[in-house]
């Protein structure tokens, strides 16, 4: 199973590009460190059923109303996206 990193967890808020707050513990943690087991996954495009992966950190948002479908990227946070459907 793929490791879950802090930056991909629901209760992680980035402070900057390297670190952030883990709201569960209140600690400052490194973005790319592995999160403890049981942490909730952050809604991101890569975790959405509307996402079709492409090459080089890119993909397509199948829910897009644009013509052709607009691109997206796996790490785009989708907390505020009304079209997000968790895989």
């Amino acid at each position: 199973m793929e490791k879950l990193l802090y930056k991909d967890t629901r209760n992680y808020t980035p402070i900057d590009v390297t670190k952030g707050i883990d709201h569960v513990t209140g600690n400052i943690v490194l973005a790319d460190n592995e999160a403890p087991a049981g942490y909730e996954v952050m809604p991101k495009c890569k975790n959405c059923s509307n996402f079709t992966a492409g090459a080089d950190h890119m993909g397509i948002c199948e829910a897009s109303m644009n013509e052709p479908k607009f691109f997206t990227y796996p790490d785009l946070v989708a907390v505020t996206c009304g079209m997000y459907k968790g895989v």
Binding site: N11, T13, P14, I15, D16, V17, T18, I21, H23, V24, G26, I28, L30, A31, D32, D56, H57, M58, S64, M65, N66, F70, F71, T72, Y73, P74, D75, L76, V77, V79, T80, C81
Partner: protein, 905 residues
């Protein structure tokens, strides 16, 4: 070992220790006044201190996605809907301990690119960024620990982080998306479209040459299209967002289908109100996302105090999402939200909150009287506000952010001045703003004190005491001079005596037009000031005066690049007057060309990228239905011409006049050869120091050939000594500049005016300029600001400097700028504070517009340059703004060290 200039001069009996009025103690002297913020503030400040400037694509992505889907929509509505999509999708970021919530992005110090303004930078660096993104896949994030100097600047890529423009860090996994987004704006950005049309100006080639020779620093149309202005919080405070929606909806019904006598843009009012509605709905969703996140976090955190904080903040946001604030806490959150919202609308540097002590006073007064809040709680909020404002980054190009702004964002707060009725406007809340500035010394908000004789003495003494903290604020600005400037510039647009009193500082020290509006709270009416003028960050920015002189001396050819910039004048320059007249002609040519091309860039901006949020906030846009692009603001004559290197030019002209034309010590040709040979010294870049004293002599015959002449020009009359010889050259310049500026017309058909700040351009522009006739050497900085003496040349004490600076009428210009460096021992104790105030008052009474102080021991700065890791929190006043020492470039650091240090006042 190569000899340094200071050693050469020392051998000749001339000191370059750059001290005046005494001798500094040998040991390092710290600043006298030191204070601490509240514990909660300290924790958040510590996070800031260890935070990197970070950027992501979220806002950029949603804006672009929506914009590209609306091909045939009316431009203003298209933009509003794109902004609405971007705000609505912004992920909320909450940090423990905050009482003032909401951020620009999901980072503590975050920002994002706006390729709709300019995408060229990313395209030009595409390969480089891709390589960085790919090759760094296996590197460890722990490399971060090696990141020391530069404060929060991401000057180099490391780990999984790619450096953009030497300032911002972006996660490598976002880089491909950034490049794809940038490509979507190719040919559509303000930069690209502006460039397409500015090429139609017949003199466009001259413009290109001007930019290549760094006679001008940047194009304002697509770099910072808004800023150096005062925001207006009135409508959200008085009406709330639902009230604004109600007003816009009602007005939409009134204007739909009606031109009302205006066949050009009368019909546009309908679309403008629709844009306002779309935009406000986006902002409301943005606020709602934050309150939802706060409610969620209450169930995540185990900390009971945090649960209370989150619940309280959620309740405040839920209220202000719709309604006007009722309390001080709600009001300060409202202005924070509005401020960040406007900053996300455009690339803006210098969005000043203005006189927030007077804007928030109604809430403060009533809450204190009702016991709803204590002064200590207010102080804590004001200290927190400084963390919020300092965390604001502006994402613009490397040249602008680094070379001009030194990373600063100029969210200046003004205190003092007069109220609508001509009486002192200082109030108890403004005392607390000054106290907060001392307790939590951070670069933002820097503070401008609008000096008037009516201000209470204890208020002024408190301000002088705060200066001694060494954070460089408050700066003193002259209320009388500013009011006179308001009449000079805005009489044609209906400026009244009352409105002239509402002015405040926008940006670092731009006198900005404001107005009064009646705020109602619990049945009581208060007249509060707020911005009513267009940005003043716009126009012709900045023109290097010493470089123009260089082009005069070399017949229109840049001797550094060997390229022709101007048509040759072919004058033999036989008299000083010949030089001066030709300087004026080249200057006017420069302004003409830059003004025409800038007008086109700004016109493209106003057609496709117009402001909506900032506009709707400013009177009289909501009332008249026109935004900034259709002259909806009360005051629209805000485009200006910015000079750089004033005193280096004045000293150079004085040296030419004296040495070449009057005393005839050398011919002009010989002087030119000395300039080309850099008076026998190496170039500053070769030496890697940008202050004059540290420049190294070359070896050999050429070096010795120029030694005598270099001594002579260094000892020619210099500005700053109350010596009429040099000072009257300044007077000639000011009389010309202030009148000439008004002959040029902005795209809004208003005349331009002079603006005399240099920000950090004296470093970058000095770097592209050969030696100057005053003895300054190639590549070294110019004199900073516009009224500061060149380092080490003001030998007759501070009052002589003030006399020199006040030789001309400052009210004819938007500003002037005088920076003075003082050793902490010179103003020690209460007596020292009084002396500092007396010195300042003397300058204001003579008619000087602005003075600010760096209270610091130069030895501390030298030590900080050698050991930056020990000085993360050291702040210095640069030129109208305060910045962390470690976040400013080396050339400006060198210049700050070199500035004359006054040991007594």
């Amino acid at each position: 070992m190569a000899k340094k200039l200071k050693d050469v001069l020392a051998n000749a009996g001339i000191s370059m220790d750059l001290q005046a009025g005494g001798k500094a103690p040998d040991e390092l002297i710290d600043r006298e006044v030191k204070r601490e913020p509240h514990e909660r503030v300290k924790k958040l400040k510590n996070i800031f201190m260890d935070t990197l400037s970070s950027a992501n694509n979220e806002f950029t992505y949603w804006y672009t996605r929506e914009y590209m889907s609306l091909d045939n929509e009316i431009p203003v509505v298209r933009r509003a809907k794109a902004l609405k999509a971007a705000f609505s999708h912004s992920t909320p970021a909450i940090y423990p301990g905050e009482l003032l919530v909401m951020h620009k992005t999901t980072y503590f110090r975050g920002s994002f690119p706006m390729p709709w303004l300019s995408e060229g930078f990313y395209m030009a660096h595409e390969d480089e960024f891709y390589q960085e993104a790919l090759k760094r896949g296996s590197a460890s994030v722990d490399e971060h620990s090696k990141f020391g100097t530069g404060g929060g600047n991401v000057t180099k890529s490391f780990g999984k982080v790619v450096s953009l423009a030497g300032k911002f860090g972006m996660r490598q996994e976002e880089i491909p998306a950034l490049l794809k987004l940038a490509k979507m704006w190719y040919g559509k950005s303000v930069d690209d479209l502006g460039n397409k049309y500015e090429k139609m100006v017949p003199e466009y080639k001259t413009k290109e040459q001007i930019m290549r020779s760094i006679i001008c620093m940047f194009d304002s149309g697509f770099t910072l299209p808004q800023g150096r202005e005062v925001i207006n919080y009135y409508y959200p405070l008085e009406l709330g967002f639902d009230g604004i929606l109600k007003m816009a909806n009602e007005m939409k019904g009134k204007v739909a289908g009606k031109a009302d006598g205006d066949g050009m843009v009368g019909m546009n009012r309908l679309y403008n109100y629709e844009a306002v509605i779309q935009f406000i709905e986006g902002v409301q969703k943005w606020i709602n996302n934050y309150s939802t996140e706060l409610r969620r976090l209450i169930n995540v955190t185990k900390d009971e105090n945090l649960k209370k904080d989150y619940a309280q903040s959620a309740e405040i946001l839920e209220w202000i999402e719709h309604n006007p604030p009722r309390t001080f806490r709600e009001a300060i959150q409202m202005i924070e939200t509005v401020h960040i919202g406007v900053l996300n609308e455009d690339a803006i540097s210098g969005l000043s909150p203005g006189r927030i002590g007077q804007v928030l006073y109604p809430y403060f007064e009533q809450d204190i009287a009702a016991g709803r809040i204590t002064e200590d709680e207010v102080l804590e909020l004001l200290e927190l506000d400084r963390v919020v404002k300092t965390s604001i980054d502006c994402f613009a190009s490397a040249g602008v952010v680094g070379g001009v702004l030194s990373g600063n964002t100029f969210n200046t707060v003004s205190v003092g001045g007069l109220n609508k009725f001509g009486k002192s406007a200082a109030n108890r809340l403004e005392y607390l703003i000054l106290e907060a500035g001392a307790n939590n010394a951070m670069p933002q908000s820097t503070i401008a004190l609008l000096y008037d004789e009516q201000l209470p003495e204890d208020f002024l003494m408190l301000a002088a005491e705060v200066i001694k903290v060494g954070a460089g604020y408050p700066a003193f600005m002259n209320n009388r001079i500013a009011q006179e400037f308001m009449f000079h510039q805005y009489a044609e647009e209906g400026m009244t005596i009352e409105d002239s009193r509402a002015w405040a500082i926008g940006g670092c020290l731009e006198t900005s037009a404001c107005t009064w509006k009646p705020l109602h709270l619990n049945g009581k009416e208060y007249w509060i000031p707020g911005g009513a003028g267009q940005p003043t960050s716009v126009g012709v920015h900045f023109i290097s005066m010493p470089k123009v002189l260089e082009l005069v001396l070399f017949n229109g050819v840049d001797p550094r690049t060997k390229e022709k910039v101007y048509e040759p004048h072919n004058s033999k320059l036989e008299t000083y007057e010949d030089v001066w007249e030709q300087f004026k002609l080249y200057w006017q040519k420069t302004v003409d060309v830059l003004n025409w091309t800038n007008n086109i860039q700004h016109d493209v901006w106003r057609k496709n990228n117009m402001s909506i949020f900032n506009s709707l906030l400013k009177p009289n846009c909501l009332e008249v239905g026109h935004l900034i692009n259709e002259l909806g603001y009360k005051y629209n004559g805000t485009f200006n011409i910015e000079s750089a290197g004033t005193i280096t030019l004045v000293n150079s002209l004085a040296a030419l006049k004296k040495i070449v034309f009057e005393d005839k010590i050398v011919s002009l040709d010989t002087m030119k050869q000395a300039i080309v040979d850099n008076f026998g010294f190496k170039d500053a870049r070769e030496v890697n120091s940008f202050s004059l004293a540290d420049q190294e002599k070359k070896e050999g015959v050429i070096a010795d050939q120029w030694e005598k002449l270099h001594f002579q020009v260094l000892q020619a009359p210099k500005y700053g000594n109350d010596d009429k010889y040099a000072d009257e050259i300044l007077l000639d310049w000011e009389n010309f500049f202030c009148e000439d500026s008004r002959k040029y017309e902005s795209l809004y058909a208003r005349n331009l005016y002079p603006c005399q700040i240099s920000v950090s351009t004296h470093g970058a522009m000095g770097s592209a300029t050969l030696a100057t006739p005053d003895g300054r050497l190639s590549g070294t900085t110019f004199a900073d600001a516009s009224m500061s003496a060149y380092p080490g040349t003001d030998r007759n004490g501070p009052f002589a400097l003030l006399n020199s600076a006040s030789i001309w009428d400052h009210s004819k210009s938007q500003n002037s700028q005088l920076n003075i460096k003082i050793h902490p021992t010179a103003i020690k104790g209460n007596e020292g504070t009084k002396k500092l105030l007396d010195l300042t008052r003397a300058y204001m009474r003579k008619g000087g517009f602005h003075v600010q102080y760096n209270v610091v021991d130069s030895k501390v700065l030298k030590n900080a340059q050698e050991h930056p890791e020990k000085y993360r929190d050291l702040m210095v006043r640069v030129a109208g703004f305060t910045q962390y020492w470690v976040e400013i470039g080396k050339s400006v650091q060198d210049e700050l060290i070199a500035r004359t240090e006054y040991e007594g006042v």
